[in-house]
Subunit: 359 residues, 2 copies
């Protein structure tokens, strides 16, 4: 399918993965799993499905060089730089604009660089099936089979099954639902009708453009202004002028919740949100004591269920359980495993104290 | 009192204070409190009581240079090197021999370099009182007023009060008692008759030599052999020949338990055994969250009752309680505070694994 493209969203920061994730080297740019960065994994996953020439990347100016160096096969001109973050709607709109100029018939898959997918083969197959469905004009999203009643993800409720493509069942979407509380999340799971919102979408360029025009007319007008300057000497200037005025919006709220004819393909592909260190611990196979030790010499005295990632020092632990230890060149984090979300509070504190060298 | 001398025992290793304490730089040689080493504190404490010329030190060959450099006022010839550790009886015997040669009338105070004493002024006064008592031919020991039913120390049970010297009550010793179990320790405290055995003793040279002759005749003979060579060209050779044959023995078991006429002066001088990191935590005044932070930039998110000592890195802690964190140039220790004793198991493991660079 020669007009199938991927747009990888690689603009995040990842403060919950401090101290490895930093402003200058955000979480998608650091080696978290198998000595590849999350961004490299996101590109690697597309092998055999798409040539690197058809992989586009939206990111921030501060990160484009680091990311481009990590995937030498992806042409430099495929990196699209947002002058500033404007939510997923902004990033997707800007990416769609570039892609439209290149190939107005394009089918694009919006993909993320901060999720891990264990079953890469199945991911490729479902993406291929989704592209076939999108080609018929539908908006398609991949719904992740929930493995527990998470309160950290949005959910997608499905209605009737509309068909089966390449072995994958395709359903009409009943509603996109924002992050629930614990009780509602448990209800969602019990019904069997809900998937996690993966943030992965597949559609034709003209379909998403039409949705912007209908549902986000102000943003669409801004995109048109930028479009008129694309490929001209005024491109950078116009983008710099327009982008600050774009309102921050998520694609879910800006488009998906109000779109008709959205289809979902529920899948189980071993998808994990690489949100915090506890999630990364879960990705590894622990030793018999339940510990995961990465890149460090470790001496354990009665230590269990802990994640220990090193820099250059020996790390010794005595009488610990459910602890995360991350050693880097200039900072050490020690965190209760069930408090991994709160690592972002460390970063907030550092910001507040003006200790920019650690950000 | 011009023939009053101190013999500081500075031969320990201190594996429970790893990773700061190392073979090449044992715990008495590292800055643990107020930017002075425990050994420096031991020497500082004698100021105004004794001139540095009358401070003798027994230590191991590997440590003599490091220690001597820390107390430039103590003459180099006052450092007595044991070819190998032979227990406190061995170290004291060798020290006494040197001192006897210098001043056969000497009253010597055997002191330690691995205890912290908060009330230095009172320490000096009680030592002065003890020297007066020792001058009359008694063996005197300082008994520490127990603050809790410790199972980590030996105890001294007292009998009748024999007098008061410079405001300190002096008692006859009924018995030296080895480390008790928890139940017996609680009983000891309830009777009000027990002190902790501080390991600090005061006596005349001829009195201790007489005890060696009576109670440890083989060792006494070995000391006599060495004595005959002291100050001659054969000194080193003879010591190297005799010392390996000396049997390891503690002064408590070898001499004190069998000595008659031992007196104890019970005192409360803020004495703390610097045995492990938990003890060092106790020496500091914690902040309002109960944390003690030493030599490091620290970011705390919901961290309490913890001891954090740094090297050069920022240390951030999230959701921790009762944890010890020690960062050094090549190793990091993270330890539950109630498991501080088990840090020695880390060192044992390192030894077993042959990772000598961390020892």
């Amino acid at each position: 399918m020669s007009n199938f493209y991927a747009l990888i969203m690689a603009g995040g920061s990842g403060t919950r993965l401090w101290p490895l994730s930093r402003q200058s080297r955000p979480k998608q740019a650091i080696e978290l799993i198998d000595n590849r960065t999350m961004f490299q994994h996101a590109v690697d996953r597309l092998e055999t499905l798409l040539p690197p020439e058809r992989v586009l990347v939206v990111t921030a100016r501060d990160h484009v060089e680091v990311l481009a160096a990590q995937v030498p096969d992806v042409p430099g001109e495929n990196f699209i730089v947002e002058p500033m973050a404007r939510g997923t709607a902004g990033a997707i709109g800007l990416g769609a604009l570039h892609l439209k100029q290149r190939d107005p018939e394009a089918v694009m898959a919006v993909l993320t660089a901060d999720h891990y997918i264990r079953d890469v083969d199945k991911f490729r197959r479902v993406l291929s099936a989704a592209a076939q469905v999108a080609r018929e004009g539908h908006i398609v999203t991949l719904g992740i089979q929930p493995s527990f009643p998470s309160t950290g993800f949005g959910y997608i409720r499905r209605r009737d099954r509309v068909g089966t493509v390449e072995g994958f069942e395709v359903y009409a979407v009943d509603a996109f639902v924002e992050k629930p509380d614990a009780a509602r999340a448990a209800e969602f799971l019990a019904t069997g009708l809900y998937s996690w919102n993966s943030g992965m979408f597949i559609w034709q360029i003209n379909r998403i453009m039409a949705e912007f025009a209908r549902q986000m007319p102000a943003f669409y007008a801004q995109l048109r202004t930028i479009e008129a300057a694309l490929g001209t000497p005024r491109q950078a200037e116009v983008l710099a002028e327009v982008w600050p005025q774009v309102r921050k919006e998520t694609i879910d709220y800006g488009v998906m919740e109000g779109a008709d004819d959205v289809l979902v393909i529920p899948v189980d592909i071993g998808w994990t949100d690489i949100g915090d260190w506890a999630a990364i611990y879960q990705l590894h196979r622990p030793d018999e004591a339940g510990n995961v030790i990465v890149n460090t010499e470790h001496v354990s005295v009665d230590t269990s269920a802990s994640f220990i990632q090193g820099g250059k020092k020996l790390i010794a632990t005595v009488g610990l359980k459910d602890v995360i230890v991350i050693d880097t060149d200039d900072a050490i984090l020690i965190c209760a495993r069930d408090r991994a979300q709160d690592v972002k509070l460390v970063v907030e504190q550092l910001k507040k104290d003006g200790r920019v060298e650690y950000l």
